[in-house]
């Protein structure tokens, strides 16, 4: 990872002692710390998925016991959601890019930023402990009174992990909001911001408003479990539905934490690879805010069959349809952006296009779930599983991978191998669809989720799904291998390998420690591809970076 110009100092090589990493206040290094940490959790969650997909090859139990199976899907859900997806784009790409994109030298609160990583890691260790000491068997949803009274697995450890990691989210959200408000370069008005920033801003709002609720909720589960205080268990005077209200009050908005930042990435990538300003910039920006706000009022769509009142159900249903509209608007605007563009299909763009396709399917199947009469049938079946994987894996993970490829040269100063990149993107797309499309059919047929053993007629579709998962897994491995390889052997990158507009491409790759020697002044809109400067392959001219 030495810089090409051995003299040039950048954030990676400026100092390389363990302390210089563990005590760093540099937002870029903190982003890298997060990257390494969440990859570990992604790996754990992935291993669990591989194991239970193998188990599901046959209708009866052939590999593991019921108890193990239940722990595997819980481990998959908890690690993937709380310790991978939620921090994925915000804490890695957001931390790395946000200050550079707005022309700042760092976050508003670099120490809080570092603290967030420690807090997150501490939460993660509790999560790990829960797994190591035998796992948790409640599902990532922790429904009461099962989790609070009946389960005899490490609920408390896992709940503590989630409780602690939540504070990392809050710190990150706080930092983003203050940074975006206070530290934009001169001339960088709100409507000149890249849409990635709008996405992060909307996400940050959800993080600080929603996360306290999940923290309180898991705490209450802990209190009931440890001290027998009747909160959720009706046998001791509690109300089991209260938990579901509190849980989904956070966890529905949280699905937007798991997609809004991805949408931001997609806007950047599509603009760059079609060399156009995102069509309807203002609409796309505001739709992120609309999603963040409306997203707080739809939680009851998870509870249509929970014995919630019919009338409450109606309100939640109509609001859920409304929250779908801004997402639809985004998809249309991205598509329209391609019109009369100059499109090239590099790896990040393949992921972006994959995102549009898969997110469209994910979003449309969300309408099925918002339709109360259909929800009754498909709630808690594989239909739901397929739906949220289309959104969260087909959407967020595709965006994450697209973003990682897009900014890889910026982060590490090296190019990944483009041919391998495209090949892996296609493998992942195919594997993903083969894994999850059959699950829509399984769900409508009536196969409930979280079933270890199942009736024989569901086997063929399950085998297809497992086959797809193997392809998907192979695709991820491929990406991992060539990315690591490229750190050492990849072609060196210039400052702006994609000819992209955006301040982050005006600093050298990798960026210097303090990003900008002199604060840049912004005098134009985002995605200004009419600017000839953008097309110079390397405009690392003086002034903007201290290279």
């Amino acid at each position: 990872m030495e810089s090409g110009d051995t003299k040039r100092k950048h954030y990676l090589n400026i100092e390389n002692t363990p302390q210089s990493w563990l005590l760093t206040l540099d937002h870029k290094r903190i982003g890298i710390l997060y990257l390494v940490t969440i990859l570990l959790f992604f790996f754990l969650g992935g291993v669990a998925a591989v194991l239970f997909r193998l188990e599901l090859l046959t209708p009866d139990a052939h590999l593991v016991e019921h108890e193990t199976y239940n722990r595997l899907f819980t481990m998959h859900g908890v690690t993937m959601i709380f310790f991978f997806l939620i921090p994925s784009i915000p804490a890695v790409l957001g931390n790395f890019l946000l200050p550079i994109m707005i022309g700042a030298r760092d976050m508003a609160f670099p120490r809080i930023n570092l603290a967030s990583w420690y807090v997150f890691t501490a939460g993660g260790l509790f999560g790990l402990a829960a797994i190591v000491f035998g796992g948790v068997d409640t599902g990532w949803t922790f429904y009461t009174p099962y989790s609070s009274t009946y389960a005899n697995s490490n609920v408390i450890l896992a709940a503590l992990g989630i409780f602690i990691a939540g504070f990392a989210s809050i710190m990150t959200g706080l930092n983003f909001i203050v940074t975006i408000h206070k530290m934009r370069a001169p001339g960088l008005t709100w409507f000149r911001l890249p849409l990635f920033i709008w996405g992060q801003y909307a996400t940050a709002i959800i993080m600080i408003l929603g996360t306290p609720v999940i923290a309180i909720t898991v705490l209450l589960v802990g209190i009931e479990r440890l001290f027998g205080v009747g909160i959720f268990d009706p046998a001791i005077g509690g109300d089991p539905l209260l938990f579901q209200h509190l849980f989904w009050f956070y966890s529905h908005p949280a699905v937007y934490i798991m997609i809004l930042p991805g949408m931001g990435v997609i806007s950047e990538v599509i603009a760059c690879f079609s060399r156009k300003r995102i069509f309807g910039y203002h609409v796309v920006a505001f739709s992120s805010l609309a999603i963040a706000i409306l997203g707080f009022f739809v939680w009851g769509h998870h509870m249509f069959v929970s014995s919630q009142s019919m009338y409450a159900g109606m309100i939640f249903s109509i609001l859920s349809f409304l929250v779908a509209i801004p997402s639809a608007i985004k998809v249309f605007n991205w598509t329209a952006t391609l019109y009369k563009g100059s499109i090239s299909l590099d790896t990040p763009m393949l992921y972006a296009l994959g995102f549009i396709g898969l997110f469209t399917i994910g979003g449309l199947t969300g309408l099925f779930l918002a339709t109360m009469a259909i929800n009754i049938h498909v709630h808690d079946t594989y239909f739901v599983v397929a739906h949220f994987h289309y959104v969260m894996v087909g959407g967020m993970l595709m965006a994450f991978l697209g973003g990682i490829h897009f900014w890889w040269p910026k982060m590490f100063g090296r190019m990944y191998p483009e041919a391998w990149g495209r090949f892996a993107a296609i493998v992942i797309f195919v594997g993903f669809n083969l894994t999850f499309f059959p699950q829509f059919i399984l769900g409508y047929l009536g196969m409930p989720r979280r079933y270890h053993v199942y009736p024989e007629e569901f086997q063929v579709l399950n085998v297809m799904s497992t086959a797809g998962a193997s392809i998907l897994g192979a695709g991820y491995l491929m990406v991992f291998v060539y990315l690591v390889w490229s750190l050492f052997k990849g072609r060196r990158s210039v400052s702006n390998p994609w000819c992209a507009a955006g301040l982050e491409w005006r600093v050298s790759s990798p960026p210097p420690q303090h990003n900008f020697k002199k604060a840049p002044v912004v005098d134009r809109d985002a995605y200004d591809y009419t600017d000839e400067d953008v097309y110079k392959s390397d405009y690392d001219s003086g002034g903007t970076s201290d290279g």
Binding site: P240, K276, G280, K340, L364, L367, A370, I376, E457, F458
Partner: protein
């Protein structure tokens, strides 16, 4: 459709057909948009691919007409989905008044079922063709969910309260019954089947040619409990009774001591028995003891069945 892979679930109730119609409408809308977006993406990618690095794209920034169109059209379509879905949902949530009532108690990891005739079954439910069936359900431990895909019926089964579901089977056969809410270790074994029989077969089944001989009906069992537990000492129609007359109380409006008025549904009766202080009736002393721990879920349901059977005033003493 015989390609070895099932693609569509059986339809075995009237509502199943209605739900599927709506489902197909959503499929059609979805396919339209998926193909529209897919076709546009492919067309644009081919048409506007970068031919040389000197390509300079068009600088169109936005178009108000288009933005309005793709806001309003999806809005209209989703509102159609909403209304259609809500109308059907109301139908799914409101059992007809002539429905046969069956008691269902879920517990880790089995379904206990009792017919109005007193027949009990475990993980099996026999019902006659064409007869609306209403399930009164509760759980002894955690949350479960009663799910029969062929009827497109699902309802959570909660501890501490009653929920209902209903269906009218329109095809004979054996259909899956699943627990759909994760409830612990053997969740995926909390399954069974619903057997839809012709009315004649159903009579034979009731007559004990298949299955067990019946015990008491829930109402009879409830009446016996009412006496055994001493409810009748306070609840009788005579003047000076310590407790209110329970005849006709079900479905009526009750004024509570704290001024609230509530409709006496199953959940109210349940609470009156388990936690009488919380639902103190206006004008009475808080002398009724709690019966929590003295009756199990099934007995509670039987007591409630009995109270419900006491139509008009004047019949309370009957069981004594």
């Amino acid at each position: 459709m015989d390609i070895g892979i099932p693609l569509f679930p059986e339809q075995a109730s009237d509502l199943a057909r209605d739900v599927d119609m709506l489902f197909f409408f959503l499929i059609a809308v979805s396919m339209f948009f998926v193909f529209l977006i897919g076709a546009l993406l492919i067309y644009f990618i081919v048409k506007f691919r970068r031919r040389s690095n000197a390509d300079r794209p068009d600088a169109t920034r936005s178009h108000a007409g288009l933005e309005i169109a793709w806001t309003v059209i999806p809005l209209i379509l989703t509102m159609i989905m909403f209304v259609w879905g809500a109308v059907l949902f109301f139908k799914q949530s409101r059992p007809p008044s002539d429905a046969m009532e069956i008691l269902v108690v879920g517990k880790q990891w089995m379904w206990k079922i009792q017919h109005p005739t007193g027949h009990t079954e475990i993980n099996e439910l026999h019902v006659p063709l064409g007869q609306p069936v209403k399930l009164n359900m509760t759980s002894e431990d955690v949350i479960h969910s009663f799910y029969v895909p062929a009827f497109r019926v699902k309802m959570d089964v909660l501890p501490g309260r009653y929920t209902t579901a209903w269906f009218t089977p329109n095809r004979t056969g054996r259909f899956h019954l699943f627990c759909a809410e994760y409830c612990g270790t053997e969740h995926s074994k909390m399954v069974g089947s619903v057997n839809v029989l012709t009315p004649v077969e159903y009579e034979r089944w009731l007559a004990g040619e298949v299955g067990d001989t019946p015990a008491d009906t829930p109402v009879e069992a409830g009446r016996r409990l009412f006496t055994q537990l001493g409810c009748a000492t306070c609840h009788h129609p005579d003047a000076g009774a310590l407790g209110p007359d329970l005849a006709g109380v079900f479905g009526s409006e009750v004024t509570l001591a704290d001024g609230r008025t509530v409709v006496a549904d199953e959940d109210y009766l349940r609470q009156s028995i388990l936690d009488p202080r919380a639902t103190l009736v206006d004008g009475y002393e808080p002398i009724m003891p709690t019966f929590r721990g003295l009756v199990n879920e099934q007995q509670l349901m039987q007591l409630i069945s009995y109270i419900k059977s006491l139509g008009d005033a004047g019949e309370t003493g009957e069981g004594m």
